[in-house]
Amino acid sequence: MIVEGPWKERAQASTFNEREFQVCITARLVEDAKTYWVAAGGGPMYSVLLAKKLYAPNALYVTEDGIIAAEPLLPLDPVMTVVGARPSYRAVMWTTMNGVGDHCAVGYMDYGILNTLQIDPYGNINSTWVGRYPEEGRRINGPGGADTIAAQCRRVILMTDHQRRKFVPQVDFISSPGYLDGSAGARERAGLPSGTGPWAVITNWAVFDFEEETRRMRLRAIAPFVTLEQVLGEMSFEPVLAEKIETLDPPTEEEVEIFRGEMDVSGQFSGAAGDWIMREGDRWTRVEGGA
């Protein structure tokens, strides 16, 4: 899945941020000549852009405001990842939210990539409420366009931080659908199109897919700078374990150079969260990072 590829032959970065690592791993998963719906930009968009530069030149992405296959003028201003002139630059089409929603509903979106706040073993996503809805707790953003992406894209890739509070046995609120209760046909019974659903989860530490029979999250690979114990220790539920847990390659110098030089120029992305990892020989050391 993500162990073989051109990056193997490239020089590895000796210092990188965990968020950068997460983007690089996601980029390596991007399939050439496929169409990605990356919600409203951010990590998902940067992953596809990085992939286009290095591994999948003909991969294309759309955003929920109807920008189709842009070649954005980077870097983007803060939060201006949609509608604006720079993210819209050199698109092949400008349409609308219903426009891209139709493209997705009829099956032209091969993949969706989503940032998620809280996730359960079946890939259900909470981005609405932390606590007991609606009496007690904290309001978050709401699904945005993620509900449609999670419901209708053929394969959905979920990006999230590797923390206990994010991997929970049951989300406080299902904002966007995974495999729901995990039973066979649960999505179809709820009115969602068949042949869709979560396909992978990528964190700053690990990569998961979903076991076909059980539709449960399955650990496939971990970062070289963490142990299996650490990975499982930062999850509030026990994922299925693949027969062989692969070890992911660290970012290449090429990957981080392009990401820092063209995308995360102000460092606000890697600066916002995630520790820094440094390598000396075979030793990895972690430096507290983030805001």
Partner: protein
């Protein structure tokens, strides 16, 4: 501007705006709505970043259909204190509801929302498809009382041009009972007639056109000016720092009009620099 908001936005109205405070939205119109202290608005909270929180904090809004907005402390208080009722949809489901409204239909079938907790806290229903018998999600049409839309160009009759990607400008214009446009530029109808293919909203859907240069400030109006990054940071800071009240005080109540705000608080030099930062015009200028 003052007159249009006074005349077409009523207390208790269901209000929809297109895009948002940062991206080609009717920011000036919405500040005027706050300035006139409209009450009990029910808002369409799709794709809306900071606007819902601003309206809630200013006491203008007590109901919201979600969508997407940045939460924050102000919003949280309002919800827990029962000052804000929220109905749970998603961005695309809300634009689908607007499309149904624009079609004159009372509902529309969709392929999402099913199985989520949004579904349970929304007007959606799960029905048997009358043809296939399959479970099918439907949502009620949305026909707002008033739509506020910022456009690149409009003539005085309301024929309007919008350039670039967007959310649901046309759907909102057709679905809403009253439509107020703010336009960067007023063009002659002769200009409109020279290229009818550029018109997105027809005159008969529009009740008022306000000439509002920089009407999307602090947001970007693609092809005309960039977003005011400094201001964007300020409003997000206020939102996350629970100082939205101060922000509204300074930028809305603190001035008598939008013109005064642009003149006194932003200033010509800053506006000019935003125009200069809008280096990409291709496709946004006819």
């Amino acid at each position: 501007m003052e007159e249009a908001v006074d005349r077409y936005v009523a207390d208790g109205d269901y209000i929809v705006w297109e895009c948002n405070y940062l991206q080609r939205g009717p920011s000036a119109l919405l500040r005027e709505v706050i300035r006139q202290r409209k009450q009990r608005l029910w808002v369409c909270g799709k794709f809306s970043w900071v606007l819902v929180a601003m309206l809630v904090e200013a006491g203008c809004c007590d109901r919201a259909d979600m969508g997407f907005f940045i939460g924050g402390a102000a919003m949280n208080r309002a919800i827990l204190e029962g000052r804000l009722a929220i109905y749970e949809y998603s961005n695309v489901v809300m634009t689908a509801r607007l499309r149904a409204g624009a079609m004159g239909a009372s509902f529309i079938p969709i392929r999402s929302l099913g199985g989520t907790d949004n579904f349970k806290h929304s007007g959606a229903k799960l029905i048997e498809d009358p043809y296939t018998g399959d479970p099918t999600v439907i949502v009620p049409a949305l026909n707002p009382d008033v739509a506020l839309i910022h456009v690149h160009q409009a003539d005085v009759h309301g024929n309007a041009r919008i350039f670039g990607a967007g959310i649901s400008d046309v759907e909102s214009a057709l679905a809403s009972r009253k439509v107020v446009l703010s336009a960067e530029e007023i063009v002659d109808i002769e200009d409109i007639r020279h290229n009818p293919g550029l018109t997105k909203i027809p005159y008969y859907a529009v009740d008022a056109v306000v000439h509002a240069p920089f009407g999307a400030y602090p947001g970007e109006c693609p092809g005309h000016y960039a977003s005011d990054t400094q201001h964007v940071v300020e409003v997000f800071g206020a939102l996350f720092g629970d100082r939205l009240g101060e922000y509204v005080e300074k930028w809305v109540y603190g001035v008598s009009s939008e013109n005064e705000m642009l003149e006194r608080q932003v200033g010509f030099a800053r506006l000019k620099s935003l125009e200069e930062r809008a280096t990409v015009r291709e496709g946004f200028r006819p």
